[in-house]
């Protein structure tokens, strides 16, 4: 790994990696650890392997996903756990005009996304939060284009129904 590649292609996407890890683990601290481990692993990538990597972002996202899932499963974290620390951050950013009710609705919308089945949750995250193309999602999650479309459709449909019924 050269400093130039790391500095220009890997380090700038650290926030994406963090958000993705946070989506999977549901824990700020776990997500920070995952990003740290992924960046260290990328930094130690063997020179002969570097030439084979075409899309650093997709490659890093795949590593982040795998590491996050390992961490989540090994520590038996609850998948649907609320994003600790996120609600607190959002409260800090709330403007005076934003009512407590609106704040609560936004947090509930976040919880809905977090409670989706794993594949739907990750596909919707990469599409709506990170603005990935379908091809990029398929590469990062190692699934087919059709699976991307089906899971995105199901995820949005589920969110829509919950918003119509509950909010």
């Amino acid at each position: 790994m050269t400093w130039a590649i790391f500095h220009e292609q890997v380090f700038p996407i650290r926030h994406k990696l963090y958000r993705f890890a946070l989506r999977i683990t549901g824990s700020v601290h776990e997500a920070e650890d995952v990003v740290q481990e992924v960046l260290e692993k990328v930094w130690k990538t063997a020179p002969e392997q570097i030439d084979n990597i075409q899309n650093w972002e997709a490659w890093c996202m795949t590593m982040t996903r795998n590491r996050s899932l390992d961490k989540t499963r090994s520590q038996s974290l609850r998948r649907a756990a609320p994003l600790d620390g996120v609600a607190e951050r959002s409260s800090d950013q709330a403007t005076p005009a934003q009512s407590a009710e609106t704040r609560d609705l936004v947090d509930r919308a976040k919880a809905m996304m977090q409670q989706l089945p794993e594949k739907q949750r990750l596909v919707m995250h990469l599409r709506d939060i990170e603005e990935f193309s379908y091809e990029e999602i398929a590469e990062a999650l190692n699934i087919t284009l059709d699976q991307v479309k089906v899971n995105l459709h199901r995820a949005r449909k589920s969110i829509r129904e919950q918003m119509l019924n509950n909010l």
């Binding site: 790391f6 963090y18 958000r19 920070e32 990003v35 740290q36 951050r89 936004v106 949005r156």
Partner: protein
């Protein structure tokens, strides 16, 4: 954007048929603060998405490895400092100074029997080592006495070496000062940046 337009976009969004650009338009609409009341129930979703997009890793320094060039310079500077300091200390403490000083004059004596083809430095060292035992005890004692006195004075070679070491240390010091100044300057920029949001808030 008119209600009918955004409603049509939303219908396609739920089906997963919108492009990335159309999805950006939808998010912009629901985060603009101006929306049709009939769509109010979907505002929290797109506000939540916007907030999630703005979420950033706070521990940047923790994730960033040290720049290799800086790391190498730091290691090189540390090694250089240790070597120079160690050499300087040993030079003052070790009695070997006198032995080295005793050998030096022998190098200057003519050696007609030495083969010309040999390397000059090697030849001088060998000859100097051979000459040493031949000296009488009185000569050695006199020489030792003289060198003990001379060691308190600074000969030209020592003065030259000291000057070089001082120059090297001055260079290292200057580099360290430069790095420190850069750090202080950067800290100043960061403090200035910190003040910007406060002004806006005020």
């Amino acid at each position: 954007m008119k209600y009918e337009e955004i409603q049509a976009l939303l219908d396609r969004y739920w089906e997963g048929e919108t492009s990335l650009e159309e999805e950006r338009q939808i998010r912009a609409y629901f985060n603009s603060g101006i929306h049709d009341e009939r769509l109010a129930r979907f505002v929290p979703l797109f506000r939540a998405i916007r907030e999630e997009q703005e979420l950033q890793l706070k521990t940047v320094a923790k994730a960033a490895p040290m720049r290799p060039q800086l790391y190498q310079w730091a290691v090189a500077a540390s090694i250089a400092l240790v070597v120079v300091a160690g050499w300087w200390w040993l030079r003052d403490q070790s009695p070997a100074n006198e032995v080295i000083a005793n050998v030096a004059p022998a190098n200057e004596s003519p050696q007609p029997e030495a083969p010309v083809a040999r390397a000059e430095i090697t030849q001088q060292v060998v000859v100097a080592a051979a000459e040493q035992p031949r000296r009488s005890k009185s000569q050695k004692a006199a020489k030792k006495s003289q060198k003990t006195m001379d060691s308190r004075e600074i000969d030209p070679e020592t003065a030259k070496a000291m000057a070089e070491i001082k120059a090297a240390l001055a260079l290292v010091s200057a580099k360290l000062d430069k790095g420190r100044n850069e750090a202080v300057k950067s800290a100043g920029h960061l403090e200035a940046l910190d003040k910007v949001p406060k002004r806006e808030d005020g």
